[in-house]
């Protein structure tokens, strides 16, 4: 029965989306532990609309995917018939450097955008993990926090306007093409961060910024967390505004660990500063005064710590707290996780978010047997413990990536958002049949 139903659905899907490139999902193309039978890759708005309309009339549940970098950062959908890739919706880049605005297809990656903007001296200055893979539509839909959010805010702050198709097949054009605009309800706010559960973003108009004359990444080894707290305070009180203020902490490795750096368990402060040459000189001199030491590493390039944290760990959590409490909570997290093996904590000092990497991914080519690690049940118990501890810090802990089995045991979201009743009604209006990522968000949204 089950099979014949899905067979009939498959046929209806094929008929309704004829001409839209379609293929079977790859084994690694999973989301929150599930695999979709089919991946459709519409190449334009019309093809996307036919996919949405078919899904609507056949009651097929779909999840939108861009670069696939945040597919695990939500609960598994209640049903999954179809993965809808927006990667084909790249298209022409319309950069207007004199207006500091760009319009681009949602399927383009951030790296592609910045490459296109480079000639005109502009850029989109946010630095999410895996920028070469993540699509702009996905980054806006996920409203991914970045290291450089310290200087530039979030993706939602970059969006001036967008085109989208909602779950009822409406083609929406919201916001505008100009940097200031308060005409009508700001549906950009509703869709940014809604993780593809109300509408599928097809095109974006984004703010851009001039490239700085120079930029530097500076790394400092701090003695301990207390030193990090002091460094944060003196940076905040100073006249300086680094565009990145991250603290990276490694721990839990046994003493014979592989790291050649004896200092690896001491917190690493990563700052990125920008400006003209005289500004950079001034900032470096002031940082030496404020932090009482020179950086042990200095580079023109932005760091890749966010990427490696994304790739090297099987279980990735995110703790969200007030910025002033973030390091204290990160310390508590370290205490709770260190007995179970190695871990890495990345705290964005301005936003107060800490990304927690647990369960190192075993090296692919190594001859040694993989370390046992925590069982899914132990991971669930640890998450519960972390959430219990979070209560004292008014923090929350959400799951961003986990082994498939864990999704059956835990809720990725920590609690329910205020206004859930209104959100459910909005979901009904924008996606009446419930085809877009049903149940992926908090409270079964």
């Amino acid at each position: 029965m089950q099979e014949s139903q899905s067979g009939a659905r498959g046929a209806a899907l094929a008929a309704g989306t004829e001409g839209v490139p379609s293929r079977d999902a790859r084994p690694d193309e999973t989301l929150s532990g599930l695999t979709a039978p089919t991946v459709l890759s519409p190449r334009d708005q019309q093809e996307l609309l036919s996919c949405v309309n078919t899904a609507r009339s056949e009651g097929l549940a779909l999840v939108v995917t861009g670069g696939g970098t945040a597919m695990d950062a939500a609960n598994p959908p209640r049903a999954l018939d179809l993965l809808l890739s927006t990667r084909g919706l790249g298209g022409r880049v319309d950069a207007r450097p004199n207006d500091m605005v760009v319009t681009i297809g949602a399927g383009a990656t951030l790296t592609e955008l910045n490459r296109a903007l480079a000639a005109s001296g502009q850029r989109l200055p946010l630095d999410p993990p895996l920028a070469g893979q993540a699509t702009l539509g996905g980054l806006v839909a996920a409203d991914t926090t970045c290291s450089s959010s310290a200087g530039f805010g979030c993706f939602r702050d970059m969006v001036l306007g967008l085109n989208a198709i909602d779950g009822s097949g409406r083609e929406l054009t919201v916001g505008g093409q100009v940097v200031k605009n308060v005409a009508g309800y700001d549906l950009v706010r509703l869709l940014a961060g809604s993780k593809g559960s109300l509408a599928i973003i097809t095109q974006l108009t984004l703010r851009t910024f001039p490239r700085p004359v120079a930029a530097l990444t500076l790394q400092y080894r701090l003695a301990d967390t207390a030193a990090a707290v002091a460094a944060r305070a003196s940076l905040l009180d100073s006249e300086l505004s680094p565009v990145m203020m991250d603290l990276l902490q490694d721990g839990g490795k046994d003493s014979s660990g592989s790291s050649p750096d004896n200092d690896h368990e001491r917190p690493l402060l990563l700052l990125r500063i920008e400006g003209g040459n005289s500004e950079l000189d001034y900032q470096q001199a002031r940082l030496r005064e404020l932090l009482g030491c020179a950086p042990f590493a200095r580079s023109d390039n932005p760091p890749d710590h966010h990427d490696t944290l994304h790739q090297d760990w099987l279980l990735r959590l995110r703790a969200i707290s007030m910025p002033g409490q973030a390091l204290a909570f990160a310390d508590r997290v370290a205490t709770l996780v260190k007995a179970g093996g190695s871990y890495q904590l990345l705290t964005h000092l301005c936003s107060g978010e800490t990304v927690i990497g647990l369960e190192p991914r075993p090296p692919v080519a190594a001859g040694q047997a993989p370390t046992s690690g925590r069982s899914p049940g132990e991971m669930a118990a640890l998450l519960a413990e972390l959430r219990q501890a979070a209560f004292d810090y008014k923090a929350r802990v959400v799951v961003e990536q986990a082994p498939a089995e864990l999704y059956e045991l835990v809720d990725c979201w920590h609690g329910r958002p205020a206004g859930l009743g209104l959100m459910r009604q909005l979901k009904k209006r924008f996606d009446p049949v419930g085809i877009l990522s049903p149940g992926r968000l908090a409270g079964g949204l």
């Binding site: 500091m100 009508g184 309800y185 700001d186 958002p417 205020a418 209104l422 924008f430």
Partner: protein, 478 residues
């Protein structure tokens, strides 16, 4: 226009709850509430409620909701699109008694203040800590935070710092049925950004009773420059040249000859008498950077034919320059008995085109139009001068204003950059958005405000509009 009297029993219950201070009736007391800064149309509410707490607000709204009576929220009444005009709305609910500072949290760079706190007072609270609240509308000495959030207010410094929504961390909202929600914009909630959606919704999704605002660092150094040009076209081109040089000034403002004349008469800053247009250019950041940037600005302005460039290094001179700009609207009274401020946006590179179009429209309608612009944002504020005793002239003002906004749309812009749609521009919404998008907006409003009791007839075109409101008529006297 007036509203029918209310049920006496309901008024008694409201008075018992809110006290004499919290409930206003009678013509004399209500006159001040009959319009905001958009004075082309007026309507007096039957009753004004001034709750002092969220609980009073919630219970007032609940009572009105149960009785099926429409109400309109009001902050300081400094809006300029008729957003709080009580047209066909019997009850007005003001936030002026909700003035508590709930939390000043320097470590987390935020404050939580009630809706009736004045914008400028937020900065005063924290300036000794080297912080400020960035959005600074021209009315910042009077306008209140609740209204700022409801309108998503801007100001001259939005070019670098963004508008209200970019500084909003959360808010407390009384829904149109009286329920109170605490909405946060923190990451990882697993829901939708309702606080973001409420921002700029012009009091149609509920009443904002408090807001949590992000504070930004007060820059180490500020350089304010004045550049004088033969005309607005040259000044507009200089704006593009400054942006093209890779600079992001904190503010980039333009005033044309008519505005300069009025401002000079009022404040005596010392603008040259023959100036065709001036740019106020403010750079901020680290002192080490500013000298070099000032040189770049000077070069860009010189290339576009600036006749004079002055740097206002003395804080008093800087303050006077900003006073001239921020109070320019007030000074216009010297030139004309009345004026209508329009608010449109074009891509900043299209400023020369819109300036020409405004000139043409002024000639076609035989009107004097002065121009103040947040030029760096492409946000124009043409001031259409008229005499409100001349009904025929008032009609031309309305038509010219509409033509200017349609020209903004043609150039790829918007019919409002910071003043809102209110009641003034609802008929321009179909020119701005397609039917599907308007339907989605209507869906959003119905979810929050299903009985359309909270500030009806605003933002979206409505067939229930009375004729007087969509086509305001001139008022005699005044």
């Amino acid at each position: 226009m007036s509203n029918p009297p209310l049920d006496a029993g309901l008024v008694t219950r409201l008075r018992r709850m809110l006290g004499e201070e919290g409930l206003l009736t009678g013509e004399a007391a209500l006159r001040v509430y009959e319009c905001d800064g958009y004075t082309l149309e007026k309507a007096r509410p039957s009753l004004v409620l001034l709750p002092a707490t969220t609980q009073e607000m919630s219970r007032s709204v609940e009572l009105l909701h149960k009785a099926g009576i429409a109400f309109v929220p009001r902050g300081a009444g400094t809006g300029v699109s008729g957003g709080c005009l009580p047209a066909d709305i019997p009850v007005m609910i003001g936030t002026s008694r909700m003035q508590r500072i709930r939390r000043v949290d320097i470590d987390n760079r935020r404050v939580e203040v009630e809706a009736g706190v004045v914008n400028l007072d937020v900065t005063r609270l924290v300036e000794s800590d080297g912080l400020h609240y960035a959005p600074d509308p021209s009315s910042q000495a009077a306008c209140t935070i609740g209204g700022n959030v409801a309108e998503n207010s801007g100001g001259p410094h939005t070019l670098k710092y963004g508008v209200t929504v970019n500084h909003l961390l959360g808010l407390e909202l009384v829904l149109p049925d009286g329920e109170v929600l605490q909405l946060s914009r923190e990451a990882g909630s697993g829901g939708f950004d309702l606080a973001g959606v409420v921002t700029g919704s012009e009091g149609t999704l509920g009443i904002i009773t408090s807001a949590t605002l992000a504070l930004v660092k007060t820059p180490q150094a500020v350089a304010t420059m004045l550049a004088v040009f033969p005309g607005v076209l040259e000044a507009s081109r200089a704006v593009s040249a400054i942006i093209a040089a890779g600079l992001v000034p904190a503010a980039l403002e333009m005033m044309d000859a008519l505005v300069i004349e009025a401002v000079e008469a009022a404040y005596g800053f010392g603008f040259p008498a023959d100036a065709g247009a001036v740019l106020i250019i403010e750079l901020d950041g680290l002192a080490a950077a500013l000298d070099e940037q000032c040189v770049q600005v000077t070069e860009a302005c010189n290339e576009q034919g600036a006749s004079e460039i002055r740097r206002a290094d003395d804080p008093r001179e800087r303050a006077l320059l900003w006073k001239s700009r921020k109070r320019a609207f007030g000074a216009m009274g010297r030139l004309s008995p009345s004026y209508c401020t329009q608010d449109g946006v074009v891509p900043r590179s299209a400023l020369p085109q819109i300036v020409e179009r405004i000139g043409e429209i002024g000639r076609r309608y035989k009107l004097r139009i002065a121009n103040i612009m947040h030029a760096g944002d492409g946000n124009i504020h043409p001031l259409l001068l008229y005499d409100e005793n001349d009904p025929e002239e008032v009609a031309r003002v309305l038509d010219a204003g509409r033509d200017i906004l349609l020209a903004c749309l043609e150039l790829g812009g918007s019919v409002t950059g910071e003043h809102g749609i209110g009641i003034e521009k609802t008929e321009l919404m179909p020119a701005s958005f397609g039917p599907a998008t308007l339907a989605a907006m209507a869906d959003l409003r119905e979810v929050f405000n299903p009985r359309a009791l909270c500030n009806p007839h605003k933002i979206l075109p409505s067939d229930r509009h009375c004729v007087e409101v969509t086509r305001p008529r001139p008022r005699g006297g005044g």
